[in-house]
């Protein structure tokens, strides 16, 4: 990556990255796994592995990404699904055997699995819901 030589270059990079992220978020499914120490100790690595396997098996090109701890350590592993421009939908205490149902119902059928859902969240704190 190129060194930023000026503030203008930083601003241009920010705008470019924002556009790219917005487009990729808007036009695809992003699955986010909480991978702070608390998440990992609650089994997030295994959950993430199962998510990847499941997506591969169903030939779904979703973006799988990791984040740090969001605070609800008692509900780890946390898995968020964001599709299009909608808020992230968070599932709590996700175990590997819950993954197929979440992918089947949420991704394939567009039905949130109510039993396991914790809440929904905009991409920044305090941003208004659409």
């Amino acid at each position: 990556m190129p060194k930023l030589e000026s503030v203008e270059e930083l601003k241009a990079l920010r705008d470019q990255l924002q556009r790219a992220l917005r487009v990729s978020a808007k036009s695809s499914t992003t699955i986010t796994v909480g991978m702070g120490t608390c998440g990992i100790s609650a089994g997030a690595r295994e959950v993430m592995r199962v998510i990847r396997d499941e997506l591969k098996e169903r030939a779904i090109e979703a973006r799988v990404t990791t984040v740090g701890c969001i605070g609800m350590c008692s509900k780890e592993p946390l898995v968020d699904i964001q599709q299009g421009d909608e808020p992230r939908v968070t599932y709590g205490n996700v175990k590997p055997n819950m993954v197929p149902r979440i992918i089947e119902e949420h991704l394939m059928n567009g039905q949130v699995v109510d039993d396991w859902v914790v809440g929904r969240l905009r991409r920044g704190w305090g941003e208004q819901d659409g």
Binding site: T37, T66, V67
Partner: protein, 594 residues
Amino acid sequence: MAERHRADVIVSCLHGRCEGLVPALREEIERQGLGDEIDVVESGCRGMCAMGPVLLIQPGGVFYTGVQPDDVPELVQETLIKGRVLARLTYQVPATHQEICRYEDIPFYNKQLRHVMRNCGMIDPESIEEYIASGGYQALAKALTTMTPREIISEVKASGLRGRGGAGFPTGRKWESTLEAEGEVRYVVANGDEGDPGAFMNRSLMEGDPHAIIEGMIIGAYAIGAHEGFIYVRDEYPLAVKNLSLALEQAREYGLLGEGILGVDFDLDIRIVRGAGAFVCGESSALMQSIEGKVGEPRPKHYHATERGLWDQPTALNNVETWANVPLIINNGADWFASSGAEDSKGTKTFCLVGQITNTGFIEVPMGITLREIVYDIGGGVPGNGEFKAIQTGGPSGGCIPADKLDLEVDYDSLLEAGSMMGSGGMIVMDNHTCMVDVARYFVDFLKEESCGKCSPCREGIRRMLEILTRITEGDAVMADLDLLEALGRTVQNASLCGLGKSAPNPVLSTLRYFRHEYEAHIKDKTCPAGVCRALIEYYINPEACTGCGLCKRDCPQDAISGERKKPHVIDQELCITCGICHDVCRFDAVGVR
């Protein structure tokens, strides 16, 4: 392809649900004479199968869902030729999603204010790009190009930011002293040596948003004229070390660290130093000794670190959370920062909620919030049938605050008044099954292990206090021991060299202040009211409730329980070692403590 075509239409062929769409698109594009300009690309499933065929037009990022072959002529005409977006095809949030509770409405979050931790759990900490896209390093750009070092310092001073490591020294004043002190070189240091049992908010910050700390440090280094910085992280936080190292590397690659940062005549590099597991190294002078490669022991404070810190040069040492607050102040201004928080404690503070609390986790709240709001509204109260008894703030050397002080507003000064302290932000909730003498003994035992041994009040005093506390929990103490304990505590508090010793008696003195009756019960009545201290309790089986299932009998390591199947069992008190296993395994609540 990208060079030849003006635009790509990317169609996600969703498990065969869009038959006819791709040919229709190609045909229509050809018919309009756009075949050379626009390409139709079929891509894999994007995991939005329920929304029907989805279609993305690049560049521009127009995204349509549920596109049918019938839509094609209008789509080509309006969007591809005229550049208009067709509202009816844009993504609609499914109705069921609107019914899900918003984070802001979940009790855990609705009293929180996420400023410092704004990116934790939101962005990928391994990606500097996501940090930059979320507005990261803009404060640095602003500080470097539009503010003088003095202006940065006055902004931080005006914000009222105080050190988040717990002592609460005004950050702006610290920087000012460092800038004004005489020295050949200056240093910035971030303290990430979070060692309090039950505290992990610094870890969450370092793991979840490392760039916020780095950005704050670069701004601070520019303000005081430092060209070298250190982040001191305990080695027990491998993920924090990993994410911070990666973040530093990325910042160097983008030229945000190194020579001529952002084209400005300012150089800085930051290194990570890993702590080797000594609790005392979280103390500022011990931490600097440790960075220098010496034994991690505090030194007398004839000079402040701002005058003679690292290698006897002026040093601005702040907690990682303090550093992460700096970009916010530069971006939004001192007034914005000072608009949240309490009178003399501005802004927000992160805490960890652990112990007998429903929602274990880390939180960020405006200063001045009451403990009651933290425990009941955010924390969800005590789980099960327990009853709230006390909350310990400030880590092992903090104090225990009882239930009748729950309306205390959390800020640096009120916590000190209540005999505790802010500390770095650990909060341990205790219920009626917790013995306060045992708690004090536990923390003093921890501090005995962690005392570096350099000064005798701390080294010897804590040890003697532990002996007395152990005697009390074993029922061997006399009432005069309480006075001795108190006197010892005051001496250790007044005479110790560093903050570890000065605050070590807090758990004892605060429990003596608020829970003296429990100490007296141990000494006078030889009972432990909470049923914890093993030497003072006995387990018994309630014959009314016992079903004679035999579970306790099977699990008793002493074979102290006898009884016929389906008939009430009894415990032989001579053999019983009060391990409590019978109490834990009983499914009928038949084993009691007295």
